[in-house]
């Protein structure tokens, strides 16, 4: 009873088995592939959206106006800003720059500003906050700290914007979680049900194998192999679906919207995770079902 020969048998046997049930196996592989693809599409789009919204969140900026009656010393002011917790980066807008901005906004009617004293507009700093400081309570804290700086006249930020943004992030995360959990559950359910039905159609075969003295392992190996193969093929199918879908859309994406099609992980990693999930689902599904038949 040589173990090696025995294993070879089992393998060749399971390959032959798969060929016989090839139709069922192929359809199961497609089910695995489609289900994985659906989940992956959702995952990628929601990761991309979240990333996009987080970048967009950089707009949570706070404007600090410099007091009129102090000597303008941007470098020194900058140094003191850096020491305030939550300040990520800042841009200095001088009186001149402020005026220029106003001029640009008035388009062809700059004459309105003729003779206006450049000193009328204050210099300011536009401050971007660290991502951890973007909800309304923390923004207020940062603003209070900023106000305490001796050279600061006024601190402005859009309270409404901050609140909107924080609740948007919260909502996106919840939506991704609810839909993601449902999709994951549905995927696992659909795949395991498909595998269950495929194994169920062969319960007689399992029963007979056991009656002629096959060990549980011997009975399981073909199903294990089939699960592996279906999983690999399913993983390939889902990868292909993603790649083809992306290719179909890529040419039509406006440049600034291309982020939506980003693959948030390196392609080989996506590939391996898809194939691995496929194999895991295929193998787990068939072994659990076979195990149920073996118990009785």
């Amino acid at each position: 009873m040589s173990g090696g020969a025995n294993l070879l048998y089992m393998l060749s046997d399971s390959l032959r088995c798969a060929r016989e049930n090839v139709m069922t196996a192929v359809l199961t592989a497609f089910t695995i592939g489609f289900s994985l693809a659906i989940f992956a599409i959702f995952l990628f789009v929601s990761i991309n959206l979240n990333g996009f919204i987080s970048t967009w969140g950089d707009k949570t900026h706070v404007v600090v106006y410099v007091k009129d009656n102090v000597a303008s010393d941007p470098e020194k002011f900058g140094e003191s800003l850096k020491r305030v917790p939550g300040v990520n980066s800042f841009t200095y807008i001088s009186r001149e720059a402020a005026l220029k901005e106003l001029r640009d906004e008035l388009k062809g009617h700059e004459s309105i500003l003729e003779g206006v004293d450049t000193n009328l507009l204050p210099a300011s700093f536009e401050i971007k906050l660290g991502s951890a400081y973007r909800d309304s309570d923390r923004v207020r804290g940062v603003a209070d700290n900023l106000k305490r700086l001796p050279w600061v006249d006024e601190v402005q930020y859009s309270r409404e914007w901050v609140e909107k943004f924080a609740s948007l992030i919260r909502f996106m995360e919840l939506a991704a979680l609810v839909i993601g959990v449902f999709l994951a559950a549905a995927t696992v359910f659909i795949v395991s049900n498909t595998v269950r039905l495929a194994v169920y159609a062969r319960r007689e075969e399992i029963e007979i194998m056991r009656l002629i003295g096959a060990s549980d392992t011997y009975v399981k190996v073909p199903f294990f192999m089939e699960g592996v193969m279906q999983g690999v093929v399913g993983g390939l199918i889902s990868f292909a679906v993603l790649a083809v879908g992306r290719y179909l859309m890529l040419d039509n994406v406006p440049q600034y919207f291309r982020f939506a099609l980003d693959v948030p992980f390196p392609a080989p990693a996506v590939f391996s995770v898809l194939v691995l999930s496929g194999v895991l689902m295929g193998v787990a599904g068939s072994l659990v079902t076979v195990g149920r038949f073996l118990k009785t």
Partner: protein, 218 residues
């Protein structure tokens, strides 16, 4: 080889299929079990095979008490017993050759050995020309012979045959019984359940008569 003490078997919802069966089948014996339809012949063989557990009593096979066979021991026990099922139990997706070969494969026999032994066995039951057919494209008698070949091919210590000639013509039945006799002569314990009086008379071996789940005569 097989000893049963006060074995009973009841299925839910009907009278006991077997009641208080005490039976000793010494090593190398050739035993007929007979009795009317529903007498419990198949049930008795299944209990010997370990595919049904007795509700009561003790059963000792080859010196081991198998009242409650641990699941891990079942494959080993079954490899040592050749069973001809009344309803054949062939794998419909595999060819005749593969069906017979499987009995050897699960034991880990090498491929060359398998080929030789399966082909020899198929020629014994006159099915060489059907080796590559699927069971469902065989006649009833041909299927029965595949089942017999699968039970015999592994040279088991015990052969339990349930109505092995029910679908065979008298001449072929005789040949199959000769085959069992031959195997028996080489030391294998053989138990054949049959309702064919002709065979019992012809071979004149010890016969246990069941009726309503009880031994009605030996």
């Amino acid at each position: 080889m097989i000893q049963m003490f006060h074995v009973s078997k009841s299925y839910e919802g009907s009278a006991p299929a077997l009641s208080d069966i005490t039976l000793n089948v010494p090593k190398g014996e050739f035993l007929f079990i007979t009795g009317p339809s529903g007498a419990g012949k198949s049930t008795l063989l299944k209990i010997m095979f370990g595919s049904e557990a007795p509700t009561d009593g003790q059963i000792i096979i080859d010196g081991r008490n198998y009242v409650k066979i641990p699941p891990a021991d079942l494959p080993g026990l079954r490899r040592r017993i050749g069973f001809v099922f009344q309803d054949f139990k062939l794998l419909p997706g595999k060819s005749v050759f593969e069906n017979v070969a499987l009995a050897l494969k699960v034991m880990g026999v090498g491929p060359g050995d398998i080929k030789a032994r399966v082909n020899r066995m198929l020629s014994y039951v006159k099915l060489q020309h059907r080796a590559n057919f699927k069971p469902l494209s065989l006649s009833g008698g041909e299927q029965q012979r595949v089942a017999i070949a699968r039970a015999l091919v592994k040279d088991p210590a015990i052969i339990l045959a349930d109505e092995p000639t029910g679908n065979l013509d008298p001449a072929l039945s005789n040949e199959i019984m000769e085959l069992f006799k031959e195997v028996n002569n080489r030391g294998t314990t053989v138990v054949v359940a049959t309702h064919d009086r002709r065979l019992i008379d012809l071979f004149g071996r010890r016969t246990v008569m069941l009726e309503g789940g009880r031994i009605a005569g030996q």
